[in-house]
């Protein structure tokens, strides 16, 4: 690792604060984990573009931004009405709202959860459930692999905790809303989410990153997911940050036998966005599906790094990532598939398709297959293209103007990923964001 610089003052200061206040908030048992993470972050430093994994992700603008942590006492009082405009319309189920990294009980509602299901803020869980949490926290998201996972762990304070006991099915989606207000100068937050689904448990989870302003801020979330045998999680991530935001996220999924994980990640916002996703298929028959859709323009950059490890035989993984790039936008897709020596009968499919709408936009795509087993079925494919001229001409010969044709075809490009959003209200929200990007005369406003 190349060490670039020491830990910036604000992180060192925050770290010290957390250490001192730990006896008040009951988080002292996290001390060793935080310390180890801090050391790891110190050793790694912020990655530079000289590192292969960070080649296209220039952190310069983030480093130049003077950030600060919001303190408990100076939290922004976000009004319910302000937030209402950002809700996923008609979405049933539990809602946890975090404002600048802190849980906001007044804006949250954990209604109609089946008995035994826990959906709460991580700060409370840290205080109340050190045993259960201790089994999972920091086990899947590894600090040595990624400086930003290390940073999140060193700054660990609040976030969400979701626990579904054995055999319980949660019908309605659990919606985690991470709101950044950015009103008091550039802020930084490090929300951490832990999801534990016990054997045979089923749930749907939405991570939603929104901003109520257009300002600069930095969100550094990490989510860890543990799926016991036969557990199922349908996961969505909606990243609709401000166009000036920095968003550097990590997701680590650990899957046991016959578990199923399906994730759809949608990015519209952010100036610099990075998603590091890692899935460990650690039991036979586990299935992992990763979908992604990035719709960006201007000078936005979204960098998706996924890594799926087939550690056991008979596992299946499927990936479909798409980007629509306009303006001067830049996209990165790096999809690593690792098949361990014993992981025979692995089936893995990876597709990355990209639509470039402007000649200044750029896509960097790279599959990365490391296959050590011999009896496997692995395929991958990547394309970067423009709008289909023939299709556009066809639409125009039917009276549809050139601009509308372009929009229809852009929407069509995204359509298959949209189709994978099973939750209708969420799909509508994503569609309306997409229509804001490419206004199409489709009516999406419908009653619940």
């Amino acid at each position: 690792m190349i060490r670039v610089e020491g830990v910036p003052g604000l992180y060192a200061k925050r770290f010290a604060e957390l250490e001192t206040q730990c006896s008040d908030d009951g988080s002292c048992w996290l001390g060793p984990l935080r310390q180890q993470a801090m050391q790891s972050f110190e050793a790694q430093g912020f990655p530079t573009t000289r590192l292969e994994e960070w080649r296209y992700f220039d952190l310069g603008p983030l480093r130049k931004t003077e950030l600060h942590h919001v303190h408990d006492r100076e939290r922004v009082n976000l009004r319910r009405e302000t937030l209402a405009g950002y809700h996923v319309h008609c979405l049933p189920g539990a809602l946890l709202v975090f404002v600048d990294g802190y849980f906001e009980p007044v804006l949250s509602a954990t209604r109609s959860l089946p008995a035994g299901v826990e959906v709460r803020d991580l700060a409370t869980a840290i205080r109340m459930q050190p045993d259960l949490l201790g089994e999972h926290l920091g086990r899947y998201a590894q600090v040595e692999r990624n400086a930003f996972v290390a940073l999140n762990t060193a700054m660990l304070y609040d976030g969400a905790f979701v626990h579904v006991p054995r055999g319980v099915v949660v019908d309605s989606p659990i919606h985690l809303m991470f709101v950044s207000t950015g009103t008091r100068g550039p802020t930084v937050s490090h929300p951490r989410t832990i999801v534990v689904a016990e054997e045979g448990a089923e749930l749907t989870l939405i991570e939603d990153y929104v901003s109520t302003t257009d300002d600069v801020y930095f969100t550094n979330p990490v989510i860890e997911i543990a799926l016991a045998p036969n557990a199922r999680l349908e996961h969505y991530k909606l990243e609709r940050d401000s166009k000036k935001a920095f968003h550097v996220a990590g997701m680590a999924v650990h899957q046991e036998r016959d578990s199923r994980f399906a994730s759809t990640s949608i990015s519209f916002g952010g100036h610099l966005v990075r998603n590091d996703v890692s899935c460990m298929l650690d039991g036979e028959g586990a299935e992992c599906t990763l979908n992604g859709l990035n719709v960006i323009g201007e000078h936005q950059l979204v960098d998706d790094h996924t890594r799926i490890v087939h550690a056991k035989p008979h596992c299946t993984s499927e990936e479909l990532y798409k980007s629509i790039l306009d303006g001067f936008a830049e996209g990165v897709f790096n999809g690593a598939i690792v098949v361990a020596k014993d992981a025979q009968k692995t089936s893995s499919q990876q597709t990355n398709r990209n639509l470039v709408l402007s000649r200044h936009a750029l896509m960097n795509t790279k599959p990365q297959l490391e296959i050590y087993a011999d009896d496997v079925k692995c395929s991958h494919g990547a394309t970067v293209g423009e709008l289909d001229e023939d299709a556009s001409f066809y639409l125009r010969t039917r009276g549809i103007d050139a601009d509308t044709a372009r929009r229809i075809l852009t929407y069509a490009f995204a359509n298959d990923v949209l189709g994978r959003i099973v939750i209708e209200p969420l799909r509508k929200t994503v569609e309306s964001e997409l229509f804001a990007f490419i206004p199409v005369g489709l009516d999406t406003k419908q009653p619940c």
Binding site: D388, Y394, L395, T397, R398, G399, Y411, A412, D416
Partner: protein
């Protein structure tokens, strides 16, 4: 004779550095059906595309007037709204775009231009189902992406469905009969024939007489090497079917002498 709906004068077209059309002259009066026949690669589709406004062709000489106005300066969508329709030889598949959505967008774009009210979902569905019945099309094609995975025959019917919905004044049908089985040909041809009227004209590109049994043309033209080398009445098509194109070459050669 009524003023022609379409007038093509000395049309010369190049693409990719090749001369494809070399001096086409053609006049189509309202209500007339003209058939264009000719060997593969003679320029039939090029003519159709140029009329519809496809990019990528150089018009090096000549003019095209539609309703007396310069057609070539209009965008493809303006031509469509003005009543020019092209049924594609190879209809384009558009994954991700629902056929109903597409058809409705097209119908409403054209209606809007004509100052008619746009159809809502219900009215549109009623209209499209009525037209589909005429063409004996399966309703399920409405819920699929435009032309994607359609059989050859389904694609061609979808073209004629669009024609029926858009109600054009000039319909250019580029080999609509190719790829149709005998029953489908009859259905499609009758559908086209039922749209004949004093105000609507057709330019029908085909290789076969069998289509012209249903849609009896007023004029038949033979296009070879980018030129109309012979024109005649409906009997010309029969003669071509019987003798092929080579005798024309001989005739043209003789004339040239």
């Amino acid at each position: 004779m009524a003023t022609p709906l379409l007038q093509v004068h000395n049309l010369n077209v190049e693409a990719g550095g090749n001369r494809i059309l070399t001096g086409i002259d053609l006049e189509i009066a309202p209500g007339e059906v003209h058939a264009i026949m000719g060997p593969n690669g003679s320029g039939k589709s090029t003519l159709a595309h140029v009329l519809a406004g496809r990019e990528g062709y150089d018009i090096t000489a000549g003019e095209v007037l539609y309703e007396g106005r310069n057609l070539l300066e209009l965008e493809p969508e303006e031509r469509a709204r003005g009543g020019v329709f092209l049924a594609f030889q190879y209809p384009v598949e558009i994954p991700g775009v629902n056929n109903t959505y597409f058809l409705k967008a097209a119908v409403n774009a054209v209606r809007k231009h004509r100052g008619e009210t746009e159809l809502d979902a219900m009215d549109f569905l009623a209209l499209v189902k009525e037209k589909m019945k005429l063409l004996e099309m399966d309703d399920s094609l409405l819920n699929r992406p435009v032309n994607e995975g359609f059989s050859g025959g389904e694609k061609k019917r979808n073209e004629i469905l669009q024609m029926a919905l858009l109600d054009p004044r000039l319909a250019v049908l580029d080999e609509t009969d190719s790829g149709l089985d005998i029953d489908a040909l009859r259905i499609v041809a009758r559908g086209v024939d039922s749209m004949r009227g004093a105000e609507r004209s057709f330019l029908v590109v085909t290789h076969y007489q069998r289509l012209l049994d249903y849609i009896v043309p007023d004029h038949v033209h033979v296009l070879a090497n980018g030129r109309i080398v012979k024109s005649g009445g409906k009997e010309l098509a029969l003669e071509l079917e019987e003798k092929g194109y080579s005798w024309i070459d001989d005739e043209v050669v003789k004339e040239a002498r």
